[in-house]
């Protein structure tokens, strides 16, 4: 197949809400190696094997703000709008969000006996995206992507497509979100995916993940239209495994395919990649497969590229994770520092790449590769270019 290069898309600004705080606190927490995992307090967890997670303890609630997922999005949007303006016609501003869970907590409440129609509508997985579009006054396309834990990467790709198409939008608020709630904690607890230890990506002793919550948004524009930017999305691709509903393909074929296509779209070779933000969930299977795929696709260069996972600090924020990781890549480029992998102390011999450990590393990556995997065999890769100071 003849593949066409796609036009880069500018990432103008970012806004987040995480267990570490807003963008500034997120970044400073990552470079200081803060572990934001704590005992979950917002809902009962005593009956679960594991009651730990990356919970946001303080969240400014708006009186008419809707569900927690919407509240997270509003907080991230406030952070974003403190750094950039939506200076386009509201009809030309789109919203594209990724989520694994949508408004599922509202569904729990609706089924528990709250019969309000508002609750029922919010339980649909696209409810929070529409709530954010209304809050921001965006009247362009409002899309929700749900490629499980790769959603926050796919959403940036779809947003870039909207901008490249010209006809649909001039600005897009894109990103991902997910909340910690009983539903998802019960599910992962039942799967025994959660660790009772700390999250240890790529560590010999890793025994599972912990979940986190958050929302991460970026403002995207056509590169030729952007007066300023924190970076560019050069390429994006997704690919399915077609092997299992919950486990990754043992050979990582879908992930390998997504990385290859994203690099080709960006017209970037392995020699150009300066940094890899790995999915790095700290499950025994994920980290081994991801390492093998990166070695296969990037060849000899793989061992020379600094790499990290931020899930040791935040937990796995599901739909927010890939957007948070993309933002981290761009901040690393701007600040000249790559955050280290919190929780990684004793490297697994099968995970033998250059993971940044112990302390942040002075480096100013220009081109970053970010990888994501999710339930259903969803894989995604982003190729980003930082706008170094």
């Amino acid at each position: 197949m003849v593949r066409l290069r796609t036009e880069p898309v500018a990432i103008v600004a970012a806004g987040v809400v995480t267990p570490l705080g807003d963008v500034d606190a997120f970044w400073s927490g990552l470079v200081t190696g803060t572990d934001a995992i704590s005992r979950i307090e917002r809902f009962p967890v005593d009956d679960l094997r594991v009651g730990l997670g990356g919970e946001i303890k303080k969240l400014k609630r708006e009186r008419r703000g809707g569900c927690r997922a919407s509240q997270l999005l509003f907080a991230a949007a406030d952070d974003l709008l403190a750094r950039a303006h939506l200076d386009a016609s509201p009809r030309r501003v789109g919203v594209v969000l990724g989520t694994a869970l949508g408004g599922v907590e509202e569904g729990e409440r609706a089924l528990a006996g709250d019969p309000s129609a508002r609750r029922t509508a919010a339980a649909l997985y696209d409810g929070p995206a529409h709530a954010l579009a209304r809050r921001l006054g965006c009247r362009g396309p409002a899309l929700t992507v749900s490629t499980a834990c790769a959603s926050g990467a796919t959403s940036l790709g779809v947003a870039a497509d909207l901008l490249r198409a010209d006809a649909a939008a001039d600005l897009v608020v894109a990103g991902g979100y997910d909340i910690l709630c009983r539903f998802v904690m019960r599910g992962f607890d039942a799967l025994r995916s959660l660790t009772r230890d700390r999250v240890r990506p790529f560590d010999r002793r890793r025994s599972g993940l912990l979940l986190g919550e958050g929302a991460a948004l970026v403002l995207m524009a056509r590169d030729r239209d952007a007066r300023r930017r924190i970076g560019r999305l050069l390429g994006h691709a997704s690919a399915g495994d077609g092997t299992h509903v919950a486990a990754p393909d043992p050979e990582g074929r879908g992930l390998a395919s997504a990385i290859r296509i994203a690099l080709a779209e960006a017209e970037v070779g392995p020699e150009d990649v300066d940094f890899v933000s790995a999915h790095g969930t700290a499950t025994p299977l994920n980290d081994r497969i991801e390492t093998a795929v990166l070695k296969r696709v990037l060849g000899a260069r793989a061992g020379l590229i600094p790499m990290n996972s931020i899930k040791g600090a935040l937990g796995h924020t599901m739909g927010a994770a890939a957007t948070l990781e993309a933002i981290m890549c761009l901040l690393a480029s701007r600040e000249g520092v790559v955050p280290h992998t919190v929780g990684l102390e004793e490297r697994d011999p099968e995970c033998d790449l250059d993971y940044v450990t112990t302390a942040p590393r002075a480096a100013r990556p220009r081109v970053s590769l970010s990888t994501s995997l999710g339930f259903g065999g969803c894989n995604a890769a982003l190729v980003l270019e930082g706008d170094a100071r």
């Binding site: 609706a110 929700t144 992507v145 490629t147 799967l191 495994d241 077609g242």
Partner: protein
Amino acid sequence: MTGSEVAAVGVVTGWGRSAVALPPDAVRAAAGRRVIAVEPPRAAGERFRRATRECQLGVAAVEALLREASLGPEAIRGDETALVYVTAAAYGSSNRAFIRAIASSTLHFPYTAPSAVPAEVAIEFGLTGPYVILIGGAAATIDGLWQATLLLRRGQCRRALVLAVETFAECEDLWARGRWLVRPPLVESAACALVVPGPWRATYAPAPAPSPLEALARARAGETLACAPLIALALARAAGDAGPVTLTGEWRGRRAGLAWEAH
């Protein structure tokens, strides 16, 4: 630029197993029933022992597409076929079952994710190409069809399946509360379109009004949410119209449009 066209559409609804089975007037045919349910054919094999009804419907829609196109499964297997999946709510029943602890076992949880349906379809047919999952009603399916044309144009695939599934029966009481979102009869459906390189240029834009095909699909099928644009395509093809076509779809106040026109 690579153009595109729709090569075939497979449809399974509460009215029957093709577009031809749709009644002339869905409201009249429903005779007061709020939900027209569909029981998918049970896919064979141990692998489907735990699969949900919506997963089975997804597989059934792709099988219907292959029959319609006179293709074998090998024609779509591999990494040159993209899968674009769209649903507004075909995760509701599995979420409900999990919340109510009807199915709180370890193995049910992954099926609560919308990604479970395309996963089962991808496993069944060996699809390992580009992969997009959109959540929403008919407007999201227009977005999905447009995504398929982009993937073809960029050379990321040689063909794309755009699949939509909607189920209602298990959450009928919840849908009764959301009357401003949906108009009965709610008709359970699954539909799949095969989009391939072709002569037509696809133009994607907001639509000010429903297209004739949107109105036709609504009248004949009833409320099928994300399946509606694909059912509209099937109706157009059943009427012998395989040429330029204009589709629209509405959801939550947004109407999107996709027109396949001559270059």
